[in-house]
Symmetry: C2
Subunit: 247 residues, 2 copies
Amino acid sequence: MDQTQRLKAGSAHKAASGRAADALVRDIEARIVSGALMDGATLPPERDLIDTFGVSRTVVREAVAVLASRGLVESRPRYRPVVRRPGFDAALAAASGVVGHLLADGGGVRSLYDTRIFIETGLVRHAARHARKPDIEALRRALDANEAAIPDSAEFYATDVAFHAVLYDIPQNPVLPAVHRAFTAWLAPHWTKMPRSPERNRVNHLRHADIERAIRERDADAAEAALTAHLNAAWEYVRGTFEGPRR
Amino acid sequence: MDQTQRLKAGSAHKAASGRAADALVRDIEARIVSGALMDGATLPPERDLIDTFGVSRTVVREAVAVLASRGLVESRPRYRPVVRRPGFDAALAAASGVVGHLLADGGGVRSLYDTRIFIETGLVRHAARHARKPDIEALRRALDANEAAIPDSAEFYATDVAFHAVLYDIPQNPVLPAVHRAFTAWLAPHWTKMPRSPERNRVNHLRHADIERAIRERDADAAEAALTAHLNAAWEYVRGTFEGPRR
DNA sequence: GCGCCACCTTTGGTCTGACTAAACTTGTCC
DNA sequence: GGACAAGTTTAGTCAGACCAAAGGTGGCGC
């Protein structure tokens, strides 16, 4: 029994948390996941939400702000918020604000980079044992694209990412590609600051080729060794992007 | 001393995104990570923030709501928000709202569970090769506690989680324990709905013992085999927690 | 003197109404 | 038919108000 009930059209709000905005968030959340608000559609105008849910504009705006910070809607400053159906990407995007701070010091970067090595180690082992023919072909294509891009460092970076992305796709688990995108997004600032050159690119391409060959030959240990050698070598370059100005 | 100087800070905010609340979020965020607002401290009252930052209450409330949804502050309905220094846990907590929806269907659970298997596979391999003596002792202690708890299913669950937690600790990467906590939090609803019995517990303990032995004997392949057998068997029980009412 | 309860103050949650500026829509003119 | 101008929405923000719950304070009874 609540004191001042929201007697309006609002359905099952108030009870849960005592905070109307939270209830609204849950309500809109539900409409998004249920498909009532479809991906890509714009949210109704704030004034409409006001009388749809029977709450004040304050509450509506608070709710929308929270939804935006959770990645369920995308809200550019003066435009209508756009609904984004949540995926594992949205989940990781929600985390990225905090991660940004953790990356402020080298320790955070190292932890994240180690995590990436850890995961990709598992990925190449998995690939060596379970990759099917189309996977290996995709890997081959990515490798060729990588080779072709050696002279162009910007292009090389893109094909580099794409090559690793193939590894994340092989297990056919939607969480993993999302993790990869999160990694690249988080580490990109360091990656782009890294010195690059066709020679470096050539070395990296050769490492990729080692990985591809080991996977093709179904040699999990060799694949793991090639991968760790590749990423550990790359770390030396990543480290330079924040240790220089710091030490 | 800066009632009138507020203009300067105001313009600094405005420049970034056009939205005052976003700027406020960044500002408070910075104060938290810099330590100006210490972990566990309460946020100043909203009215104080109003004239500290020279914005209206609307903006302040919106900012606090966003901070709360990001896990930087903890805000219970009628209490003062409490500052929480962000860690990798906070990052994953921020994601959990979205993850909740992804777990609504079995596919999401399966994806997450597969991810867990994938990671723990890597963990036991890592442990078999790199665990130091104290790690192995910790694993042993966790295993003993697990055995002692066989008669008590609730206690067994706790020791089960603790056993796996040791695996996540061994690489000494702060990201991994956070991931483990996230996994257990997300999968707990299913886990607790699972039928449990001393017989089941005994089987699980034996699997844990297999894992521990393989790690102690530095046999990565055996450790991986024991782990996958353990988790795949457990999956059959997890599946029952949502396939029953669904099919 | 000590603990408990009523009272007052503070503060979070919400609402109303208003204003501005940017986006969207419409209509007009060349 | 397309570019430009005026009108209409609407997000962003502010100010002021009210309520109810949390927290502190003093007096009362024991």
